[in-house]
Symmetry: C2
Subunit: 336 residues, 2 copies
């Protein structure tokens, strides 16, 4: 019987309080210009007085989408991905959207489940860092989907220009006089892994002709720390004359592993050996020596991804953004 049950106020309460119809309230809430100023004021006052907050579920039911963007990624603890997540969250927030996070753990089945779940929740769009490069059948849906960093199905990809970025490393090292290189690759069943390798190797070949040839050993690996450490240990287990003077890793994590291995072997970086990474994760600045690497433009990447979600039409082709060489102290002139 008491009327002050403290129920959260609805649009109807606001209308009553303001003495207008709920249609009018809805209009001022959605900022339609065609509302007389004096009515708008009354509504605004009522909203403030009642502490009204719109019910998103009801709105979603009518409009068929909520102000949420889904973000599916392999692993949030990967420092590069978490940086991307941070930027995605910022961009979405700036547009008054929240982000729903889902981790696929690199399992396409889990990834699929999450995407379905997101779709069921009528998200505004989904950005996904694919679990694998394997082609998958696209969903037949009208919700925008954007691939970030790693391509998902046939959806447009936004990524760093790995080829160009890797070439920067070759420039830098050749300039420092290095001629004996080892390249620790990423997994070659990923486009990222392939592109970085190709970018480095091709450009190195261009820079060093027959009169000034370069030695190059290539070792396939994973993107993680262990891989970098293990491969480096093998690489350096040869007579000094045959040892590479520069180790180029396909990821910062590998490079950091390489740094460890070098230290364990008593080698001084950068005097005896130069090491480079790729990504510019936060740790790159914290290890000793600080890691020379290629910075991925994470915030730009995220920005483009969110823009694509909100654009009326999907980008008609993949978007690629240049990386930037960050010179730190893990690289120096070649020994001798």
């Amino acid at each position: 019987m008491a009327k002050d049950l403290k129920k959260t106020p609805t649009i109807k309460d606001v209308a009553t309080h303001a003495g207008v119809s709920i249609g009018t309230v809805s209009r001022v809430l959605s900022k339609e210009p065609a509302v007389k100023a004096h009515l708008k004021e009354k509504v605004d006052a009522a909203v403030a007085a009642l502490g009204y907050r719109p019910n998103f579920a009801a709105r979603a039911l009518r409009k068929n989408h909520i102000d949420v963007v889904g973000f599916v990624l392999p692993d949030i603890t990967n420092p590069f991905f978490s940086q991307l997540a941070k930027s995605i969250e910022s961009e979405a927030s700036a547009r008054n959207h929240t982000v729903m996070l889902a981790c696929s753990y690199n399992d396409p089945a889990i990834e699929q489940t999450h995407i379905r779940a997101l779709l069921d929740r009528s998200v505004r769009g989904i950005v996904v860092i694919a679990a694998s490069d394997e082609a998958e059948n696209s969903l037949e849906i009208d919700v925008p989907v954007i691939s970030l960093d790693r391509q998902y199905a046939k959806y447009p990809l936004i990524s760093t220009n790995h080829i160009q970025g890797a070439a920067l490393v070759a420039d830098h090292l050749v300039e420092l006089g290095h001629r004996r290189f080892a390249y620790i690759a990423g997994p070659l069943n990923t486009e990222v892994g392939r592109a970085r390798q190709v970018g480095f190797v091709q450009h190195l070949r261009q820079l060093t002709d027959d009169t000034d040839p370069a030695d190059l050993i290539i070792r396939p690996g994973q993107f993680d720390y262990e891989s970098g450490e293990k491969i480096t240990l093998e690489l350096l287990d040869v007579p000094e004359k045959a040892r590479p003077t520069a180790i180029v890793a396909a990821s910062d994590q590998q490079a950091i592993g390489a740094l460890r291995a070098a230290r364990d072997l008593g080698l001084n970086v950068p005097n005896d050996l130069s090491v480079t990474g790729f990504d510019d994760i936060v740790l790159a600045e914290l290890v000793a020596p600080r890691l020379t690497t290629v910075r991925q433009p994470t915030s730009e990447l995220a920005k483009r991804a969110i823009e694509a979600i909100f654009a009326k039409t999907a980008p008609d082709e993949n978007i690629t953004i240049d990386g930037k060489l960050i010179r730190r102290t893990s690289t120096g002139p070649a020994p001798n």
Copy 2:
């Protein structure tokens, strides 16, 4: 006019297809046992045939909540927090919930905005790592809110037992024969900073009595890497006789900074100096020497948080989980 506009099927379509009422469909969907088997079968068949997927917005409108848990944290790129996020996501996923992520960047105003936004979206519950320890007025709501790691307003806190964890470090170091210590504290306006300091200092006092006294210098700092490096440089800038033989840092990041500083001064860790951290972030295992530290039980912490969200009643008191000493190579016997 065409009837096959491929509209997504609704519960009504399923009912028609199965020749039952929508009430019945709703019942089998929500797994109510009181449905005759043959009807259930028909419904299941219809669901499969039409590829029906329930509309979450409509459900949310009726039930007043969606299967989402909100997670508000200062910064997803902090390695400890991202670890927590991963576990939170797993636990939520296991309960068929998605997580909405929001970063506060340590700004209470932004934090407040995000929490409001989450509430507006009728989430099932919210777990928050508070932006600051300052007391805030609780929201008057019936959605469960749980504090994780750092207390938010008056909501029950789930955290590591910092006192116990810090005491472990004292045990370890005293056992190794150290008697001259320096403690690099975290910010003392945070409970975490205070608890770790108290835990270490008190236990150290207990272990070392007047017949075998311990020297202890305490320096307040931030939890970050720079702080650790800077303070260590000052700490070690004294005659060798007066130098501490062990530096105990309130966080791994500080400890890693300390490691850098020690190396820059030409000191060998652990021969000349032992260093310890707290958290056990991934990097702790990667630096040289590997860092002895206290591991926070992240997955257990996350598990308890999600359990608390789903529990009928909020925990009546804070939950505290013990940390674990991880012995690595940054600590060794005291010199001499």
